[in-house]
């Protein structure tokens, strides 16, 4: 897809929104203002934004635990996300699940679970449905380097390959599981190399370059929509925070610095400023608006009531009895 100036500004805004939101959310959690301890993907924004930007209605995404960006790009409102993080009754699902595992079918986000790598098979099933329903839609499935070692990675990607299902697998390789470096969990360097084992194309992409990510994913969606099957895209990226806000930092300072020097937001910002696509004033205004919206969402959530505890017993089944 040809990216207009409008698109570039919007991709920039979405990355900034992601960044500012997650940085604030980590603080809120530390201050005890939200119940959900989010797992920040700060530093990885380009992967989610680049991948999800420009998807069509009827396309679906399955975010990984780092792909907060997917929710923003697909339009899940800030208020909803923060209300869900606080477990409030004003959230769409009234506190039944966290913000990050919630499914929003109307926004094209499929429900997830907290098991790393379990989304892969579910994504493949959604793509199978699309093929059986003769739709030219695609499923984008996100997972990290750790998930690439799950048995389901093997089984599900193989299924997608043999049935030529319209899936794009986006692996966010940020070089670490929780603590353990990815390099000690596999004997290869590039997860994309595994694609050949399933007979599908695999590629390594600079995960800090939102345009590069976008182009790779768009190419893969074109293949998928044409019936040529899945692609595995490995985005090399990095998270600036530890896995969870409660954890201390253990990684080498020099390594973190090296990756911060390739910050995805600054990379796009430099280009947009250089080309005159955006001005410093517009950036400042954008950030102020985002910060206001983020704070407003927290206010809304904090002022929202909790659900009645009795609601915990509701909706275990769509149809509890009878049938037939």
């Amino acid at each position: 897809m040809e990216l207009t100036d409008e698109d570039l500004r919007e991709m920039y805004r979405l990355m900034v929104l992601c960044r500012r939101f997650e940085e604030r959310a980590v603080q809120w959690w530390r201050e005890g203002r939200v119940a959900e301890g989010l797992l920040p993907g700060v530093g990885q924004e380009a992967v989610g934004v680049g991948s999800c930007y420009g998807l069509r209605g009827g396309d679906y995404v399955l975010p990984s635990l780092r792909t907060r960006a997917a929710f923003f790009v697909r339009g899940v409102p800030l208020r909803e996300q923060v209300a869900a993080m606080c477990g409030k009754g004003t959230a769409a699902y009234r506190g039944k699940t966290t913000s990050h595992h919630a499914g929003y079918p109307e926004f094209g986000v499929l429900v997830g679970t907290s098991l790393v790598g379990s989304s892969i098979a579910v994504a493949v099933g959604a793509a199978l449905a699309m093929k059986l329903q003769k739709r030219d839609n695609v499923v984008i499935d996100f997972f990290g380097d750790g998930a690439a070692n799950r048995g389901d990675f093997h089984e599900a990607i193989n299924l997608a390959a043999i049935f030529k299902l319209p899936t794009v697998f986006v692996c966010e390789n940020n070089l670490y599981n929780m603590w353990v470096p990815t390099s000690s969990t596999m004997a290869i360097v590039d997860i994309a190399d595994r694609a050949g084992g399933y007979g599908i194309p695999g590629m390594v992409v600079d995960g800090q370059d939102v345009i590069a990510v976008h182009e790779a994913v768009q190419e893969a969606t074109k293949r998928a929509r044409a019936g040529s099957g899945p692609t595995l895209i490995e985005c090399k990226t990095y998270r600036y925070f530890p896995h969870h806000p409660s954890m201390k930092e253990d990684r080498p300072v020099a390594e973190i610095e090296r990756w911060r020097a390739r910050d995805p937001i600054r990379i796009l910002e430099r280009r947009l400023l250089g080309e005159g696509t955006i001005t410093e004033e517009e950036i400042e205004r954008m950030k102020r608006e985002i910060d206001n919206d983020v704070e407003e969402a927290l206010r809304y959530a904090e002022e929202s009531p909790y659900p009645d505890p009795e609601t915990a017993l509701q909706h275990v089944y769509v149809q509890p009895w009878g049938g037939g």
């Binding site: 499929l110 379990s118 098979a121 909706h315 769509v318 149809q319 049938g323 037939g324």
Partner: protein, 325 residues
């Protein structure tokens, strides 16, 4: 009405539901070209084609996970997992992906997935003879079905396919060739409604799956001894028709629960607890459970015969209860 086998009854249910609703499709290992390891899906590939009758690789986990994904998108997948022992390979998607869809969407989304699987002992060895239905009764969000007759099998499978929630559908291996009367026209059997397979006044036998046939045979011998036994087949373990069980126990005062599955932690334990909680006053004697001892199902025929509950075990249990004052 005509007599067909349990296997044929299941096949008819699949065919009729697939004709009725384009969103129904089946997938599993060896189900298309071969017609299913246990023969249930024979002929379906010819009628419905490879897009609705899908042979898959040996990938139980991804297979069920894909079923969940397809169900979330409005399809009605019926996944065949050859033996319930293999459900151990797809527990994540059953328990974590499928069972919680309604709950985490607060009732605004559904996962109409059916997992069909064979259970029970039939000389296939320790890891192909288990009966694991109790595990799934323990997971809120799943429905658990165990039909014991061709009539129930067809009606319940149709209901399962039409049901908006995930259903684990257990087919006792020992029953595939059993024949029974099945109506010619479309019918369904509702979930949560037990079937009184034989009315009686002296003792309640709650049995499901392969034990229903043995229980009914036992009642004939009991009748000759002047003992009038009632046989209740719950048919669905979730939802469980506890009203029918309690009504029966209120009448008879004596309860034997019989199943082909390990005794400890089996469904019998749950039913016994329900009666103890809600019907203690009805009981004239302790609750008895007739089930496998807590051992794997050994392979050698006489060992298996010893392990699986037989008619004699039911007779002994009932006679013990009748002997209580």
């Amino acid at each position: 009405m005509r007599e067909i086998s349990y296997r044929e009854a299941l096949r008819e249910a699949l065919i009729e539901e697939m004709r009725r609703d384009d969103s129904v499709f089946i997938l599993g290992e060896e189900i298309a070209k071969y017609g299913g390891a246990l023969g249930v899906t024979k002929g379906l590939l010819d009628e419905f084609g490879p897009y609705r009758v899908i042979d898959t690789p040996i990938s139980e986990s991804a297979l069920v996970g894909a079923g969940v994904g397809a169900a979330l998108m409005g399809m009605r997948p019926v996944v065949e997992i050859m033996f319930n022992d293999l459900l151990t390979l797809c527990m994540d998607h059953i328990v974590n992906s499928a069972a919680k869809v309604s709950y985490v969407h607060d009732g605004q989304a559904s996962c109409p997935l059916v997992v069909r699987t064979a259970h029970g002992g039939l000389r296939w060895g320790v890891d192909a003879s288990q009966s694991l239905e109790a595990w799934f009764v323990h997971v809120p969000g799943l429905k658990v079905v165990v039909p014991s007759t061709p009539y129930d099998a067809k009606g319940l499978l149709k209901t399962a396919i039409r049901d908006p929630d995930p259903v684990i559908f257990f087919e006792p291996k020992a029953l595939y060739d059993v024949v029974g009367l099945v109506p010619d026209d479309d019918y369904t059997v509702p979930f949560g409604v037990a079937d009184v397979k034989r009315k009686g006044n002296d003792v309640t036998i709650v049995a499901f799956g392969a034990l229903v046939v043995k229980a009914l045979a036992a009642t004939q011998k009991l009748a000759l001894k002047g003992i009038d036994a009632e046989v209740i087949d719950p048919r669905t373990l979730t939802p469980l028709d506890k009203g029918a069980i309690l009504d029966s126990v209120r009448k008879t005062g004596r309860l034997v629960i019989a199943h082909d599955a390990v005794k400890t932690g089996g469904m019998g334990a749950e039913i016994a607890a329900i009666v103890a909680e809600e019907g203690l006053g009805y009981l004239k004697a302790p609750v008895k459970r007739v089930a496998n001892p807590d051992v794997p199902v050994a392979f050698s025929p006489p060992l298996q015969e010893f392990i699986l509950p037989q008619e004699e075990d039911l007779l002994e249990a009932v006679e013990n209860l009748m002997a209580c004052a």
